[in-house]
Amino acid sequence: MINFNKFYKLFNLISLSLVIISILLLSLKGLNFGVDFKGGTLIELRANDKNINVTSLRQSFRSMNLGDFNVKKFGNESDFLIKIEKKDTSADAIEIIKKELTTSIGSSFNFRRVENVGPKVSAELLKSGVIAIALSLAAMLFYIWIRFEWQFSLGAILALFHDVIITLGLFSLFNLEINLSIVAAVLTIVGYSMNDTVVIYDRVRENLRKFSDIKIYELTNISINETLSRTLITSVTTLLALVSIYLFGGEILKGFSLAMIMGVVFGTYSSIYIANPILVKLRVSQKTILKEDTE
């Protein structure tokens, strides 16, 4: 048996500081919103000429007077991703860019992907993304409130917040792009983290019924240990799947799988080190759950 409970205080302190740092990062540095949420144009192109590089592309885009833009390599040697922030792009802007690129560089390009999101749509997408995440947190809170006592809901929700905030904090720290698929990833993280917490809580409750003489501090430790191998095995298989998406699933899914990988790691950690210490803090005992049973 591993004494997880010995480190409750230490890890709570670490978690708390990570959350604070994340909140600071989010409010001071902010997030790197992609075209979906900020509006603008995204072009993924493949050059047929091997000599074309980021510098030459950057030069020719600069001459087009498109305002702020960003050119970077995208996976392959000859694949590039260009983001243009200008919001009021006209319907034929892409056509003009195609023509100008051919005249300034000469080589033919394959426009593999073009995304053009107007300011109104991006604002709506951002709003619905935020609502989706808030709604899922609320739904989880509600579900766990029905299934368990309020102390458990509080613990589970704090664990969720912890995972979501730290994942977003890391995205801010490394300047990773937030797009629609990241919202999907965050929601899945919420589901996964909840899943993990619930399995341990289920065991805590079962043990509370069984043992009246064991303090919650010890009891959480027993429950964590009893479910530990499941926790680890599921994390491993999920991570195996995610790492395989990250490595082989193509550039488009990289951000999504990376967010999920972070989420699974933090989700696993928080269901041990956030969800359980909360129960200890709230002095959960056999009475807490027996009240419900007699009701």
Binding site: E95, N116, S136, M140, A184, T234, T238, I245
Partner: protein
């Protein structure tokens, strides 16, 4: 209990086989297989264009106000009611009447059978809200009046958009309403939406009007630019003909001038009007105006009674074809703006599919290898379950002809990773039970029973996330939520029916074996 009737075993086997056959129909030529159903590939996988159009209803509202003003003027004149200062101001129609007439005029507007202010019984509201201040009537479009205008212009626009897209001839376009002022156009397989975009970007409001030099003409005049944006001409506001009078329009080569023109055929009313205008107006210039710009303004040399004519104007063959197409499909009720566009080329789509398949294969192999090493014989059972689960998932998506997107593929891979969770929960529980229970059958039964709540809870939480994603997410993300949600059900089915049966068969044969798991 761990004993299963023959019937149950057969049923489970049939269900699994059924979905395996359906799932595999995706990999066969549709002509050879029994089931012709296939998973639809999303635009991000098969390539194509997604366009979200927003209808600019401003002009429609202004037109509505102008029409209503005319109606009110004629109506009050007919009723011999004296009114003053009828005008449109800040999108409100304002006029004043004598004090004695106020009550009478009010009933004209508030009557349920009102001729000038239609009553929508389904909304319990008139088209216009009425306010009376002193002797002034102030009419503004009611909430439902505005909704009526929006939905009707959306209906019309949808029809015109459909006609235009059909005329271009892309395969299986998807044209849908979104909200009450948007239209979604999905064009699978189209990697360059430029032509469609330029066709949808034009209102195509065609009018024939006389050019005039005298700005005191009745009906009023306005100065319009030519297409070249430099020359201009003064034209009468009176419309001789408009696009609605056209029966047909085709691009054509004029043999005499060697110029590309658009030839048109008018309907009966149009022919009559055109004949009359061309007979009275010989020597005058007739401006052909499209969306507020003059295409050309030929001089009338002869009466044209046949109802056939030509529009010339420096066309290339392409631009003449496009103009003919626009004229045939009719004018949009209001301008459309493209507010979102997403286009994926077919080769990127194929690359995404390949990458997805590789990731799925590797992810699957890693997971089954891990499970086998960890649980040996039970790992094998979990792996068989997982494989069947995968077929069930793909089978159900096929059966409902769901749309598979790139995030959807990610959802399938994720399901592979998370699906073993239920089996792991059960196996771990059984392990614990085996410590105190010598009889393997009882240990297994207890294991299944005791792990149930955790499994249900765990899956419901993921399902909640998936459902919210489905309702809040767009396009590709919806595909992710669908595979995630379907994956939960197939996982539960395969764990409780297939895995449980297989473990049962094994345990019954090894009742007394120590350290069975």
């Amino acid at each position: 209990m761990l004993y299963f009737s023959k019937l149950r075993i057969t049923l489970v086997f049939i269900v699994a086989l059924f979905f395996i056959i359906i799932a595999s129909s995706n990999f066969q030529d549709s002509e050879n297989s029994l089931i012709s159903k296939k998973i639809n590939l999303g635009l991000d996988l098969q390539g194509g264009s997604y366009l979200l159009l927003e209808i600019d209803n401003e002009p429609v509202v202004i037109q509505k106000l102008q029409n209503t003003t005319t109606i009110i003027r004629n109506f009050l004149k007919n009723k011999n009611i004296i009114f003053n200062d009828l005008r449109i101001q800040n999108k409100k129609i304002i006029f004043s009447v004598f004090k004695k007439d106020i009550e009478l005029v009010e009933t004209f507007f508030l009557d349920d059978e009102s001729e000038i202010n239609p009553y929508y019984s389904q909304y319990k509201s008139h088209q216009f809200d009425i306010m009376i201040e002193n002797d002034e009537f102030i009419l503004s479009l009611s909430k439902y009046g505005l909704i009526e205008i929006k939905t009707s212009s959306q209906d019309q626009a949808l029809e015109i958009v459909r006609r235009r897209v059909d005329e271009v001839g892309t395969n299986e376009p998807n044209i849908l309403k979104r909200g009450n002022n948007r239209i979604l156009v999905e064009l699978p397989g189209l990697d360059d939406p430029m032509r469609i975009k330029s066709l949808l970007g034009k209102t195509a409001n065609l009018t024939f009007r006389f050019v005039t030099q005298n700005n005191n003409d009745s009906f009023g005049t306005e100065i319009l630019l030519f297409e070249d944006g430099i020359n201009e001409a003064m034209v009468n506001k009176r419309i001789i003909l408009n696009g609605e009078n056209l029966l047909d329009a085709q691009p054509q080569m004029n043999n005499q001038t060697n110029e590309t023109v658009v030839s048109f055929t008018l309907d009966r009313v149009g022919s009559k009007r055109f004949g009359k205008a061309t007979s009275t107006g010989i020597g005058k210039q007739l401006a052909i105006v499209l969306d507020g710009k003059i295409i050309s303004a030929p001089i009338i040399r002869d009466t044209i009674a046949s109802g056939n004519g030509q529009i010339s104007g420096n066309f290339t063959f392409q631009s003449a074809t496009d103009l003919a197409l626009l004229l045939r499909s009719g004018a949009l009720p209001a301008p459309l703006n493209i507010i979102e566009e997403r286009t994926v080329g077919p080769d990127l789509g194929q690359d995404s599919i390949n990458a997805g398949v590789i990731a799925l294969t590797i992810g699957f192999l890693l997971v089954i290898l891990f499970m086998f090493i960890k649980y040996k014989i039970f790992g094998l059972i979990a792996n068989i379950t997982l494989l069947v689960n995968l077929f069930l998932l793909v089978g159900i998506l096929t059966l409902f002809e769901a749309t598979l997107t790139l995030p959807g593929i990610a959802g399938i891979i994720l399901t592979v990773g998370m699906a073993v969770d239920a089996n792991v929960l059960i196996f771990e529980r059984i392990k614990e039970e085996c410590k105190n229970e010598r009889n393997n059958i009882i240990a297994f039964d207890t294991g299944y029973v005791k792990s149930k709540t955790a499994i249900i809870d765990a899956n419901i939480t993921t399902l909640i996330a998936a459902i919210i994603l489905f309702f809040m997410g767009s396009g590709p993300i919806k595909g992710f939520s669908v595979t995630l949600a379907v994956g939960i059900f197939t996982t539960l089915f395969s764990v409780y029916f297939i895995a449980r049966m297989l473990t049962g068969l094994y345990v019954v044969r090894n009742k007394e074996k120590a350290n069975i798991i």
